[in-house]
Amino acid sequence: MYVIPLAEKLNPLVPHPIEIVLSIVVFGILYFLAKKYVVPNFEKTFAERTSAIEGGLRAAETKQAEADAKLAELEQQLSEARHEAAKIREEAREQGAQIVAEMREQAQEEASRIVEHGKTQIEAERQQAVTSLRAEVGTLATSLAGRIVGESLDDDQRAARVVERFLADLELHNEATDAGSSTSGAS
């Protein structure tokens, strides 16, 4: 192997001609390879990535809008339902009040009806009592009159005695009846 001695005066600025050519050729080959196989790939990847991100953003926006619309709809439905419930409650209250009023009226009617009925009955019974009393009084009066007539009616004293005796008899009769009822009640 021949070695150019180090001591040889070398000008480093003077180029080696083969190196110039080699440099251009290698750079050129690398340039065309990179231009054909590397740069388009990177650019395509970047473009795809950008569009993927943009697509994702757009999809997210659509979803968001849909969700907003849904939410608004649901809120509207909810407020409608609340409104409905309030209306129903109001109606129920009105109906309740009406029912109570009707009931009260009915009760009033019933009460007055019962009172009326009671009054009528009492009147009838009173009528009956008066009738029967009238008959009895007639009988008693007749019997009293008979006795008075039997004893002679010209003596005032005698008349008074007869009346007293009649009343005593009547009382006795009453007592006997009372005693009879009380003995029967005791036995």
Binding site: L6, P12, V38, N41
Partner: protein, 275 residues
């Protein structure tokens, strides 16, 4: 035939690292040829292999990351998308503008990761060589970048002359000042841009790696050949090596970012409707 640099046929005594350390001999059978007055290896060298390896790694990784096209990315896809999105949005959309940027995204994307991976090779064990410390490789990239921004500019401005006017005539300047400014603007916008773009990347990678070689070799030299109290300084040099190596990672990422950022800015300036 090893990928690990085998070159160091250093003589006795300390040879400081230099551009020669980056002129690795080819992996296979080798011959030399002379180009612009310099003797050069003819054959497949380590930086060439690294360059191809980086392209293969980038393609395989991003192919794997982008092939699945899952809505919810896995680990690989997530990392791939993060890297792609960074270039697409930070370097493409924010600088070129959301109207036009998409057609430049593959270019900026490949440019950023191509430079980044090759730069990081300087730190990865066993590989450990900054591919873009080789001027030729950087010139190739810069040539592409230069052609891209000029061609899209010519197309956008509708013709070479319109484009040159767009690039060289500052708005609001009239009269003799133009005679001064037009050559200056042409020089700055058309000629110097590719040079600075190339030198920034190439010189950063070269210088950073020279620094690392210096600390590594110097530390070793001090440890082996130093006497007395000088020996421990070698250890310090190696500790410095570790610190610098971390700094280099930062530089490597930053340079990849700056290279792509400037390419995007040049494109943006070329297709801008008004100056």
């Amino acid at each position: 035939m090893s990928l690990i640099p085998t070159l160091v046929a250093r003589s006795e005594g300390f040879t400081p690292p230099g551009p020669g350390d980056f002129n690795l001999p080819p992996v296979g059978p080798d011959r030399t040829f002379t180009f612009l007055g310099q003797q050069m290896y003819l054959g497949v060298t380590k930086p060439m292999l690294l360059l191809v390896l980086s392209a293969a790694l980038i393609f395989l990784f991003f192919r794997a990351a982008s092939a699945k096209r899952a809505m919810v990315p896995g680990k690989t896809q997530f990392i791939g998308e993060m890297g792609y999105t960074f270039v697409r949005n930070q370097l493409g959309r924010d600088i070129i503008g959301s109207k036009e940027f998409m057609r430049f995204v593959p270019f900026l994307f490949v440019l950023f990761f191509f430079v980044l991976v090759n730069n990081l090779f300087a730190t990865i064990p066993l590989l450990q060589f900054p591919t873009f410390s080789r001027a030729g490789l950087v010139y190739g990239l810069v040539l592409i970048s230069w052609l891209v921004y000029n061609i899209v500019g010519i197309k956008a401005q509708g013709g070479v002359l319109a484009y040159l006017k767009h690039q060289t005539v500052p708005p609001g300047v009239h009269g003799p000042m133009l005679a001064l400014l037009i050559p200056l603007e042409f020089f700055s916008n058309i000629l110097v841009r590719p040079l600075t773009l190339a030198l920034r990347l190439f010189a950063n990678m070269l210088a950073g790696h020279i620094l690392l070689i210096l600390f590594a070799l110097g530390g070793e030299y001090l440890l082996v050949h130093g006497e007395g109290l000088v020996k421990p300084v070698g250890i310090v040099a190696w500790l410095m090596f570790i610190v610098i190596a971390f700094l280099e990672v930062l530089v490597q990422v930053l340079q990849a970012y700056v290279f792509t950022l400037l390419s995007a800015l040049y494109i943006s300036g070329a297709i801008a409707e008004e100056h």
